[in-house]
């Protein structure tokens, strides 16, 4: 485990700063002390084998499981806070498997994404995401559970963005999507990141694509950080190429 502090700003300036994060399910400890950070405006990727603890890491950040250690959002501790409070602090989480609210209409899925907002620009935002994903506009009154997997993924991302988050957590957005759609989705993330400067922490199996749009990456093995570094470095690292890129 090495942290390249020479090249990067101090943790205090990070949007998200995690230190010695431990957590798990009941008696089973999954995370054994993680240290990482995400700077303002960055896209950071978390890679790792199945069962390494990537999903658990995101759940720990967004307050879905009990944790110990440090989780600071812009210097303020959110460790131990409940999920709904963490959302209000500006974290949006697209869960693995999309978490579609099946019985609600597409439009209501987006509205509920804006649940914490009190301003009156919700409709405008919704139109904006409808412009990005016109297929959602076509189906706005349809039950969300009847959308295809790819459409549900678009909906899940749009739903998370409806809260106008400061930090977006994405858990395997490419899962089950056709390669073309995945490519398009990642281009979209890069575009949003460039346009709005939104910070993103992405868990991904499709390392090639994710690292292509990312600034930095971490590799988790059995609940610990095994490697980290700038995306370009990880992409060219032999060991990582072998284990995670399959080339």
């Amino acid at each position: 485990m090495s942290e390249d502090t020479t090249q990067n700003p101090t943790p205090a300036q990070a949007v998200l700063h995690v230190a010695d994060l431990k957590g798990g399910y009941g008696q089973i400890q999954v995370l054994h002390g993680l240290d990482f950070y995400v700077n303002d405006g960055e896209i950071v990727v978390i890679l790792g084998a199945n069962g390494a603890g990537k999903t658990t890491t995101l759940r720990a950040i967004s307050g879905m499981i009990a944790t110990s250690g440090t989780v600071d959002l812009r210097g303020e501790s959110i460790q131990g806070s409940k999920a709904p409070d963490i959302v209000r602090k500006g974290v949006a989480h697209v869960p693995q498997g999309r978490g579609t609210l099946n019985e609600l209409s597409v439009e209501d899925n987006l509205r509920v994404g804006a649940f914490i907002r009190k301003d009156n620009e919700v409709d405008a935002d919704m139109e904006r995401w409808f412009d990005v994903y016109p297929v959602l506009r076509e189906r706005r009154n349809q039950r969300a559970g009847s959308l295809s997997g790819g459409e549900q993924q678009m909906l899940a991302v749009s739903r998370a963005l409806m809260s106008r988050p400061d930090l977006l957590l994405l858990d395997e957005p490419s899962l089950g999507l056709a390669p073309l759609i995945v490519k398009d989705l990642f281009d979209r993330f890069a575009e949003i990141n460039k346009e709005t400067g939104m910070t993103m922490l992405v868990v991904e199996q499709n390392a090639q694509l994710a690292l292509a749009i990312a600034d930095r990456g971490y590799v988790i093995e059995s609940g610990e950080i095994a490697f980290d570094g700038p995306a370009a470095e990880l992409l060219s690292d032999d060991k990582i190429r072998k284990s995670y890129l399959g080339v």
Binding site: V87, E103, D108, V112, F115, I116, R159
Partner: protein, 296 residues
């Protein structure tokens, strides 16, 4: 023919009250897939509150009803907070046991406070007939109950579909984790469901005992709960309008099917149980239910 019409009207008024209690059951089932076995007893307490307010304090009837709905709602919210929320919502067994405990305790408390002698309930709707067709009469009571039920169901639909708390409630019903991840506070949202259910239930009990042929006593809602459970299951357990259709259907079965078949009158309640069994065999999701019914 006139007799038949009279029976239809009877079926309507009974069915409409079953529908109100079924609505209350559905509100809680939608969000938690739990049946509150004490729902009828919550409602019975509501009716007693109306009676006390109206006869002892001289509060006008409909204001008394609204106050009782508010009190029942607050009481249910308190019960949710103290007795229900501490348990894992996914583990039904302890929760069912708690609602059975509430059933016994609330019924007993009502028995202690108001005793078991039947009491006349003041009129909620004008007496007399709205319509006479031959010898068949449609009473204002029937008109009133049906309107109350339709208005309640419409208001509930609006509440769930047009308000923010309604959106939160539907979200929690649909996917608990995703709701938390968009900032919905699950506890208070479910509490809202319990409160609304109890208020609707109290209204249901009040209009039920406002029937001039009935009197109020603590055990009055036990039978009604069975009818309402069948109605809710027939409608689909998670559908508001399903509960209305189910309620009316059960009311009709009771007042039309029973007299025209060899089924003895005393077995009206049994027909509700048979309907429930038939629904489970042939259409477990009910008429309008959306919840996936998992077969074992």
């Amino acid at each position: 023919m006139d007799l038949f019409l009279n029976r239809v009207f009877d079926g309507l008024s009974n069915g409409a009250t079953y529908a109100l209690i079924a609505l209350a059951l559905v509100m809680i089932f939608k969000a938690t897939t739990l049946i509150n076995f004490a729902q009828g007893e919550f409602a019975m307490i509501g009716a007693f509150i109306v009676l006390v307010l109206a006869t002892e304090r001289g509060v006008p009837m409909w204001i008394a009803v609204i106050l009782a709905m508010i009190i029942a709602g607050l009481g249910a919210a308190g019960i949710e907070r103290t007795l229900i929320r501490p348990f894992d919502p996914a583990d039904h067994l302890p929760l069912v046991i708690i609602t059975l405990g509430l059933f016994l305790a609330i019924n007993a408390i009502a028995g202690i406070v108001w005793r078991f002698d039947p009491r006349r309930f003041p009129e909620l709707f004008p007496s007399g007939n709205a319509l006479t067709i031959g010898s068949a009469t449609l009473t204002w009571y029937t008109v009133g109950v049906v309107c109350t039920t339709l208005i309640t169901a419409s208001l509930l639909t609006l509440l769930l579909n047009k308000t923010k708390i309604g959106l939160a409630f539907r979200a929690v019903s649909s996917n608990l984790e995703s709701s938390e991840l968009v900032g919905v506070r699950v506890g208070p949202t479910l509490q809202f469901g319990w409160a609304i259910a109890a208020a609707v239930g109290a209204l249901g009990a009040a209009v039920f005992v406002a029937n001039p042929v009935l009197q109020l006593e603590p055990t009055i809602m036990i039978r009604v709960l069975i009818f309402a459970v069948s109605a809710a299951a027939l409608g689909g357990l998670d559908s508001l309008w399903g509960a209305i259709i189910g309620g009316v259907a059960i009311g009709m079965v009771q007042s039309i099917v029973v007299p025209y078949t060899p089924i003895p009158n005393e077995l009206a309640l049994a027909t509700a149980v048979i309907v429930l069994l038939l629904v489970l065999i042939f259409k477990p999701a009910g008429l309008l239910g959306t919840a996936a019914v998992e077969r074992v």
